[in-house]
């Protein structure tokens, strides 16, 4: 018998939270973005776990799509980050706050 699903899912929730916290505390926009990837991975883990639990292939397929989305987001996101930060020193999100109020 394999490891129960609840372990996997708890792990996924932990991963999700770590990602969320990381996004809130880090100032480097690249690291913030990596934290988003952590959150997406948490979701993937949850999908696969539910899929196994229900013996349903749907959850696994979804992971595939999440992966594609993550790839597209990374391309565009890094493009934006490069466009902004190539004229600045560092990649600190806090430095970018002209717009406010």
């Amino acid at each position: 018998m394999s490891v129960p699903a609840s372990y996997y899912l708890t792990l996924s929730a932990v991963l999700f939270s770590i990602g969320g916290i990381g996004l809130l505390v880090r100032r480097n926009v690249l690291v913030m973005f990596m934290c988003v990837e952590l959150m997406l991975n948490a979701a993937n883990l949850a999908f696969v776990t539910f899929a196994r639990q229900m013996n349903d292939v749907g959850g696994q397929v979804v992971v595939f799509f999440v992966l594609v989305v993550a790839a597209a987001e990374v391309v565009v996101g890094l493009g934006i980050i490069v466009a902004i930060f190539r004229r600045r020193v560092g990649a600190t999100a806090d430095d970018v706050h002209v717009l406010k109020g």
Binding site: L24, V25, M32, A93, H97, K100, G101
Partner: protein
């Protein structure tokens, strides 16, 4: 041809749109001609529809025309459409007719004003709104028109907004009208609540299921609205201040049309009034009191436009008296004739003011009769007409009102008759001061003092409620050095004279539409009977009674005229008949001022409503400040740091999940 009704309000609206878009390019005077043309076209359409309606059998003359379904919310289905019946078409005909003349007059009057196109933009919008008001098939449409004319009136009063007095007069009109509008709105809600509809026809159909207290409340609330719009006690003071606007505006809006909207509304809802006699009673009493009060104040005013303004208030009181006693036909009759002679009076006054270089004080005029013959003659006709001298139109219309008032209550009649005497008197005073006697304006203008007339105004002119002597704005060609040029008063150009003549003719013969004495003569009564027939006051008078009253009325009018000649022929100052309390309008304006602006702590009686508006105003302003400072605090949350924003999202998420946790465990 009856289906052309939608064109009646549409044409001025198109005129408005065209002028709003291109007015500046069209310029002066083309913009004015386009505006006049739009209204004239509307008048022609009205006439055609009117004729079409006339050809139908009396029983089929009343129908609702739906243009489109405007919106429906739940049970409430509001359509945009017209209620076509003799009453609405009569109103439309007179509104478009008078408006055409006044538009024409304005082309001449405003010709030197830099804002010439803008004036006609407002004027056309006003006509469109007024037509919407009278033609609307439901209370919502009427209310829209009601608000529309109010807004236009507000803008036109404050047309010369760089004068503080004009701006504050505009505000005053707004505030008093808002009080009335609140009444209108409440009445609308109550009507919908009780009858489930706002369509006039449906509402009137369902009145049988509504209790008398509700009907009384609806009628009184609508009367509150009408009192605001038609300047009745206690909401009248704005009308006198409204004379800050250009004179054609005073003639069109504040004498002939808009202010009669209240009378129209009360006539329109005559089935409700018929079932709520207490409300009708209130209307009659308020009407006659306003008539009397206005007449007394007019006796002591010196500003020519103020005299006419108080006269308007007084005449409107008569109309409400007629409505209150159930004489709707008389009310409409008086409204029509009044529109003629009061518009004539205002336009005449405008000509005088124009000729006198924007001077409005009658005490500094005089002797204009020979110099301005057309104006003088038409003004004289208007005086005799409003004073009720036979056979001018006012004699017939006022006579009918008084007769019906007598049938209702002797007291109402007595007060009304006294007012009639005063009316003949104070307009005589006005006429004589302006047109006869010495030409006081010659010596009242010492060299070097550009506006000496204002400076030499009699000491009684210390009206504290209106610190600025209202004078027409010194427009470009008059400004500055213009005041030092010698005056050459003369009759105005034909665009201004023509309306005077037309209106004078109408004032003379207007009475023909509803003569007493014989059932065959009462055209108006028969015409309107499909609308008001069921609710008409039932007191029918014998021909002998009618003759008697006609003679009495004639006598009263002649006494008034005679009194005017006796007292004011050649005289300028008669302090005995111009007591200060009348000059200061019974201190009512002053009282409002005290109560509202200075102490604003005393609340009493009917004034509570007025005061309330101030208090609410203040509260609202306070709330505005509060929100703005609240916004200032809140915006600090918007730090610009993306991490903070993410924190906001996370916080929202946590709170949301916390709520769901609480749901899951219950």
């Amino acid at each position: 041809m009856i289906h052309a009704v939608f064109l009646i309000p549409l044409l001025p609206l198109v005129g408005f749109a065209v002028l709003a878009a291109f007015g500046r390019k069209l310029g002066n005077p083309l913009a004015g001609w386009i505006a006049t043309g739009a209204v004239a076209a509307s008048f022609i359409v009205t006439a055609i529809v009117f004729a079409g309606l006339f050809q139908l059998a009396p029983g089929h003359r009343s129908f609702t025309q739906t243009w489109w379904n405007w919106f429906s919310v739940d049970r409430l289905h509001v359509t945009a459409g017209a209620l076509v019946d003799p009453l609405s078409m009569t109103m439309a005909a007179f509104v478009t007719g008078v408006s055409t003349l006044i538009h024409l007059y304005s082309i001449g009057y405003m010709e030197h004003d830099p804002q010439f196109p803008k004036f006609f933009v407002y004027l056309n919008l006003f006509v469109a709104s007024m037509l919407l008001l009278v033609l609307g098939s439901n209370l919502v449409m009427t209310f829209l028109g009601w608000e529309g004319v109010g807004v236009c009136s507000y803008f036109l009063i404050a047309f010369w907004f760089d004068r503080p007095s004009a701006a504050s007069a505009g505000k005053k009109a707004m505030i008093f009208n808002r009080i009335g509008d609140a009444g209108f709105l409440l009445a609308m809600f109550l009507t919908f609540e009780r009858t489930g509809s706002l369509q006039y026809v449906t509402v009137f159909h369902r009145l049988g299921h509504v209790g008398v207290p509700s009907l009384t409340a609806i009628a009184l609330l609508l009367f509150l609205g009408a009192a605001g719009k038609s300047a009745q006690l206690p909401l009248y003071p704005w009308l006198a201040d409204a004379m800050e606007g250009p004179t054609p505006v005073s003639a069109l809006i504040h004498a002939a049309t808009m202010v009669t909207a209240g009378v129209y509304l009360m006539t329109r809802i005559n089935p409700i009034l018929h079932r709520a006699p207490d409300a009708a009673h209130v209307v009659a009493i308020i009407g006659v009191l306003t008539a009397f009060l206005g007449a007394t104040i007019a006796c002591a005013q010196t500003d020519i436009k103020k005299i006419l303004a108080y006269s308007t208030i007084s005449q409107l009181g008569y109309m409400f008296l007629a409505v209150g006693v159930g004489a709707y036909v008389a009310a409409i009759f008086l409204m029509l004739t009044h529109a003629f002679y009061k518009a004539l009076l205002f336009l005449g006054a405008g000509s005088v003011i124009h000729a006198m270089n924007d001077e409005q004080n009658t005490k500094t005029m005089g002797g204009l009769r020979k110099l301005m013959p057309i104006t003088a003659v038409t003004f004289l006709i208007a005086w005799f007409s409003i004073g009720g001298v036979p056979p001018f139109s006012g004699f017939w219309s006022k006579g009918e009102v008084l007769l019906n008032a007598y049938g209702y209550s002797t007291w109402l009649y007595a007060l009304g008759a006294l007012t009639a005497l005063l009316t003949a008197y104070y307009l005589g005073r006005c006429y004589l001061l302006t047109f006869s006697g010495q030409a006081r304006w010659v010596e009242a203008r010492p060299a070097g003092d550009g506006h000496g007339v204002v400076g030499s105004a009699p000491p009684v002119e210390s009206d504290t409620s209106n610190p600025n002597t209202p004078t027409e704005r010194v427009v470009a060609h008059h400004g500055g050095a213009g005041g030092q040029e010698p005056l050459h008063p003369h009759d105005p150009s034909w665009v201004m004279s023509l309306p005077l003549v037309v209106l004078a003719v109408a004032s003379v013969f207007g009475g023909l539409i509803d003569l007493p004495f014989h059932p065959n003569f009462v055209f108006l009564e028969r015409w309107l009977s499909p609308v008001v027939g069921a609710s008409l006051f039932n007191g029918h008078f014998s021909v002998a009674t009618e003759w008697t009253f006609a003679l009495v009325d004639a006598a009263i009018a002649l006494i008034g005229v005679g009194l005017a000649f006796a007292l004011w022929r050649g005289a300028v100052d008669r302090p005995a008949v111009e007591p200060t309390f009348l000059q200061r309008a019974w201190y009512i304006d002053w009282g409002y001022d005290r109560l509202l602006a200075r102490t604003s702590t005393l609340f009493a009686g009917f004034l509570a409503t007025v005061v309330e508006s101030k208090v609410i105003d203040g509260a609202v302003n306070g709330v505005g400040t509060l929100f703005r400072s609240g916004g200032g605090v809140l915006r600090r949350v918007q730090t610009g740091y993306v991490r903070n924003y993410a924190l906001g999202v996370m916080a929202g998420l946590v709170v949301l999940l916390a709520y769901l946790v609480s749901r899951a465990f219950t």
